[in-house]
Each structure stands twice: as C-alpha cells, then as structure tokens.
Symmetry: C2
Subunit: 277 residues, 2 copies
C-alpha cells in the first residue's frame, strides 16, 4: 500500500497520477475530514484517516506532501509507526536542512528518500489537483549516505511511471543552490515586478504576453513560499545578487547609451534560451 | 488599397490578418525580393515592390512595420509619395521621439496615426508571421493634436477587425512610461535572469514551468530591442529602479528572517495578479 500524507494540490495530484498509473491500493492521511471524504467519493483513495497510525503501519511507501516546516515534526511524531523496511519520500522544495534532521529522527530500517517533483501549482487544495501536472516535468532525487540504492531506484521508477520525463540525482546542497536559481529567484522576480506597478493606471489594458508570462507565478501560496524562501535564504540571496549583477550591466548600458553591450547581452540570452531543452 | 512597409514577422502577420478579415487589395514594400515573391506566391499580397513609390501613391492606408530607427528616414524619403488624404500608421514600440519628429516631415494632408499592436514574437521574418498573433491582444493608439478624429477611428476600427480585443488611447509619453514597465522591464528581467545562470551545470535538468515562463522572452531580437531600450531609456531606468526597490524589500526580509514581510508581499502580488484581466 502507498500512503499519501497531505491531500493538497500536490498530494491530490499524486493520488490521481497513481490511480492513472494503475495503483489501486492508495490511502491518505489528512487533517481535514471533508477532504478525505471527497477523495473517497472521487475513488482516488481506498482509505483515509485524520490520524494515520494504522495506515502508516501498512504502507510500503509513504509520500509526504505537507508544508516544509511540518515534515520533521510529522516524522518525529510517527517515527515508530512506519512499517519496518518501508520507504518514505517527500515533495519539499528545499532539502539541506531536512537532510541534517532525518538521521536523528527515523529508525534505521525506515529509509527516507528525498524527492522533489518540479511541478508546482499556484492554487491550493485537492480541488486544483490534476493527474496531468507531472507529465513531462523534471524530478530530482537528493540521495544521502543513509539511503539504500534499491530504495532510490524504487522512487525513481515510480516517478517515471507517474509521467515525469527525467529523474536527476544531486546532493541536497546542489539541489538547494540550483533550485534557488531556477525556482525561487523567478518567484522573487515575478513578485517584485508586479508589486512595483504604480497603482491606479489600469495596467491590464497595456500588457502583452511578456508581462502575463512573467507575473503568472506572482500569484503565490504565501505560507508555503515564505517557508521555502527562508529555509533557502543563503542560496537565494546569492542567486538574487548574481541576477542583480546582470541587471546592472543593462542599466549601465542604458545610462551610457551603449548599444553594443545591449546587443551582446541580448545575443547571449537568446543563445542560452535556444539551447535550453 | 493598403500598403504594408516591411514584410517581417509583424508586417507578414498584418498581411495575413488583413486577408483573413476580407481585405484583398493589400500590397507590400520590402527590401528583399525573395520575401515579396514568397508573399505573392502565398497570395498574401496583390503587388510587391522594393521601391514602392507607385504603390504608396495608391494606398489609402500605409502600415509601417519596419525597425524604429528607420521610420523617420522612410517618411522623409517618401514624404511626397503618400497619397493626399491618406493615413499612415506604424507598429513601433516607442512613441515620444517619433511624435516629436512627424510634424516636420509629412505634408499636412497626410495623417500619421501612431499605433502599437501589443503582439510581439521572438522570431524574425515572414516565415514566423501568423494571422493569429493579434487575436485577443491589446492595441494602443497614441493620438497627437495633428491627428484627425476620423483617421483615429479608421485605425481603431481596423485593429478590432484584425482581432485585437481592445484599443486604448493614451499620449505618446504615457505610452512610453507604461510600456517601459509592461514590456521592456520584463524583457530586461528575462535577459538578466538567464544570463546570471552559472554555465556548465546543465540547468535544463532542474527547471519547472516558472523558469521556462520567465525566460521565454530572453530569446530576443537583439537589433530591435536594443533600439527600443535606448529610445526609451529614461522611462525604462525608472521602471528598473521601481522594480529594484521591491526586490530590495524581499532581500531585506530574507536577511532579517522576516517571515511577515514575505507573506505580506506575496499576498499583495497574489491580489494584484488575480485582479489582472
């Protein structure tokens, strides 16, 4: 059996994608009874509980899709409930801190394989879950010395079954550094962009696709993202500073009417974007 | 007859959209003979010329879709060629400088109605033109005291026929100020973002939709955008500074581990994005 902890937009998407991939023994643990009832009615899960001790004891795989700050607490509370030999994985967007906490919490025969499905949504809750969000997306595993290779392979295989395009393995620190750049920095830029709009000029009438694209993720889950930002603040500040250095080059070129530098920077960005796959 | 000057991606899209809207008397002036031949073969235009004196004399409406720096020069060269009583419009992304130049160039019986179809593409050339790019997009008119109301209405009516969702009228200065924010600033951010990536870490393996969305427009026509940036540098620098002030708030909150400010900024950005239409 597979247990999903937290039936929000990500947990719900896991439930749907598992069902789609042919898994019919999926249960869920959630604080909200109505959510569990809805998931049962939708035939997404075969059992649900607000406590979950019994469900965890039967689960060969537990997928945590709860807020980052709740992960360690949940593991601590349920350390003795996990089925011996079972695997736990998560969907948290920051890994270094978690990697430091795990060894002290879990018994040696329970393996926590840290995973990051790169498929966020702006909206919260089961109602916005979709079995399509993982299709073609990237999945990152951040193995530690504590993980058994067979368990890493198990999580990897499941990710591919659920529709992820590729699974990469990097260290928790590498993960946090690159995620600061590819995920948290874009969110910081989108938020700062839309918040720098002068109010009262009815901007919507004067936008094209570029502004729409760049502000889409400014509609953000404030609770979740403030946690992710703070847990990863050192790497994120570094990423922001790297970005600012590039923006300064453009500013200086504007001030100095330096067309050549602008053209050179634009050609470089075009080259990089075209090479992206 | 309608004359299109410059059969690039925008001029070509005009030709297609005009054909789609039922206009069959459309001709084109372009420096490249092969482009004209291709457009004739595609039945997009009924006549083409690399010089255009004769075509301009027959055109009741001339649509300029050439690079910003070429507009004044083209008008000067052809000032006596335009049909008396005819209307000229353009697709240029910056207006104040143009508004200052026009009165000295054109004879009084030729009316230049400045327009900005907010539907750019990354790619250059007729091959990337599409009669769909204008569908549902915004169109901005920047009238001057020199324009006759009937001619403004003519260009407005045509924009709606070609599929634009709404046409707004603002002054050239208002246009340049808001476009610096909604169009040029997003391009500057996208370019600075992708150029601040550390090379050699194969970033593509670790991205989600957010990075993809925020860098799409980093693939940019370097010639065109360096012109637009420089022509609008004062307003663009102002927009960049407004953005930086907001980014600084996020940086300070990260440094001070100030969760409340992050949540507040994220809630504000979410509110603004949700209100956008």
């Amino acid at each position: 059996m597979i247990a999903i902890v937290g039936l929000g937009v990500i947990g719900g998407s896991y439930a749907m994608a598992l069902r789609r991939a042919g898994y019919d023994q999926v249960c869920a643990i959630d604080q909200d009874e109505q959510t569990l009832e809805k998931a049962l009615a939708m035939d997404l899960i075969c059992a649900g509980s607000t406590h979950g001790r019994q469900l965890l004891r039967q689960a060969d795989l537990t997928i945590l899709s709860i807020y980052p700050h709740s992960v360690a607490g949940f593991l601590r509370e349920h350390a003795s409930d996990f089925k011996p030999g079972s695997v736990i994985t998560d969907a948290t967007g920051v890994k270094s801190e978690l990697a430091r906490q795990i060894p002290d919490i879990l018994p040696p025969d329970v393996d926590f394989v840290m995973g990051h499905p790169m498929a966020g949504r702006e909206k919260k809750g089961l109602d916005f879950a979709s079995d399509r969000v993982f299709q073609g997306a990237n999945y990152i595993l951040t193995p530690t010395a504590r993980n058994r290779e067979e368990n890493l392979k198990k999580v990897e295989k499941l990710a591919l079954e659920l529709g992820f395009r590729r699974v990469e393995r990097i260290t928790p620190e590498q993960h946090d550094e690159i995620i600061a750049f590819t995920s948290q920095l874009p969110h910081a830029l989108a938020v700062a962009l839309i918040n720098s709009d002068k109010e009262g000029r009815d901007t919507s009438r004067f936008i094209g696709d570029s502004y729409r694209d760049l502000t889409r993720i400014a509609n953000i889950n404030a609770e979740l993202w403030s946690e992710l930002f703070l847990q990863n603040r050192a790497y994120l500040l570094e990423a922001i500073e790297g970005f600012e250095a590039q923006l300064d080059i453009l500013k200086e070129a504007l001030r100095g009417q330096d067309r050549e530098t602008l053209v050179e920077r634009f050609e470089e960005s075009s080259r990089r974007r075209s090479a992206m796959n």
